[in-house]
């Protein structure tokens, strides 16, 4: 069984791990100035919203060229947000979003 790409995985892991580990392993991260703490506290909502928005509105082709996209994904994500805001729970929101997207695509032949 070929193992050539295991070496590629090791190289990819070697450049990924520092991003994940350096802040967690740096001493004193819980004693940062209040302003910096507040900044990092706001990273949560900002980056989760960024992930959601990019995965909803931006599509990339095989050559990683980005293009704008507005489709059923927007409605599905919006439905999930509404359900979560109405305290129906994330799981309910995710199931509803997936069903909506799958149904609309099936009906439209997509």
């Amino acid at each position: 069984m070929s193992t050539t790409y295991v070496w590629l995985a090791l190289l990819m892991g070697a450049v990924t791990y520092p991003w994940r580990a350096v802040p967690l392993l740096t001493p004193g991260m819980h004693r940062l100035p209040r302003l910096v703490q507040e900044y990092f506290r706001l990273v949560g909502p900002a980056i989760l919203a960024a992930l959601a928005a990019v995965n909803t509105f931006v599509v990339i082709d095989a050559r990683r060229h980005p293009t704008a996209h507005v489709g059923i994904e927007l409605l599905a994500v919006g439905l999930c947000v509404v359900l979560v805001a109405a305290r129906r729970g994330l799981l309910v929101g995710l199931v509803a979003a997936a069903i909506l997207a799958a149904t609309v695509r099936a009906l439209s032949g997509g």
Binding site: V6, P45, L48, A50, A52, V58, R105
Partner: protein
Amino acid sequence: MREDLPPLTDSPEATPDSPVPGSTDGGDDLARSRRRLQLDGLGIIASAGGFGFVYGLAARAAGFSPLESSGMSVIVFAGAAQFAAVGYVLGGFSWLGIVVLTAFLNARHFLYSAALAPYLGDVPRPVRAVMAHVLTDEAFALTIAHFRRIGRADTWGYWWAAIMTTFIPWNVASILGSLVGGQIPDPSRFGLDVIFPAAMAGLAVGLVTGRRELVAAVVGAVAAVGVGLAWDPAAGIIAGGLLGPLAGLATPRRASDRPHEAIIVFTPTMDDPSATRPDGSR
């Protein structure tokens, strides 16, 4: 436990979903938040399993052996970078290009790590080193929501989010995909493609507890799409994660915004759900 630290997080108000840290039913708060974490994670399990399977199929089609495809899932454990790597191997890209692209795609993990670090300061360093390896978009999203609900760290919650909802489903499914082979199904047929953005948006909603968080989320989303379209989606996500909090900081709080009174209690509770709070409550 640490009681000498300055306030760090918002104090969630007493709602059914966000109990007040330090309340007398602390053990109930923890148990309730863990149940919610487990429920929220079910959708992530479906998404990770579905895309992990597709990754395994794609890797097999690109000529990866099962050992190579599952090795990449264990060692790199970053879905977007793995899909990109498979595509670039198929396209004949150099390894150097793939490694540089991987570093670029995964740079956002620095922000996750920095946001979680204040909570995990008292977790032993070797444990944090292992935690870092399994830190993904999904693990961060579920964990930060859980930590904010209980106002402190909970290592059991972190492992659940990172291992049970992401690492195991992704790796098991990718092994299955690489062993089964065959035609690659389109996850969008089953609506699986919307689960990830919907989960991120839903968890972001749970973190919006005041005007600053709202501005950070909106600016983060707008900046991410703008930069993502102008340059690259990965750059957009990093831009959103960097610029959103800056905009939030520049936003004055309203008097009605929730006060910053919570104290993060650095108590590893992986095997001890009955961990006590500063006031001695459970």
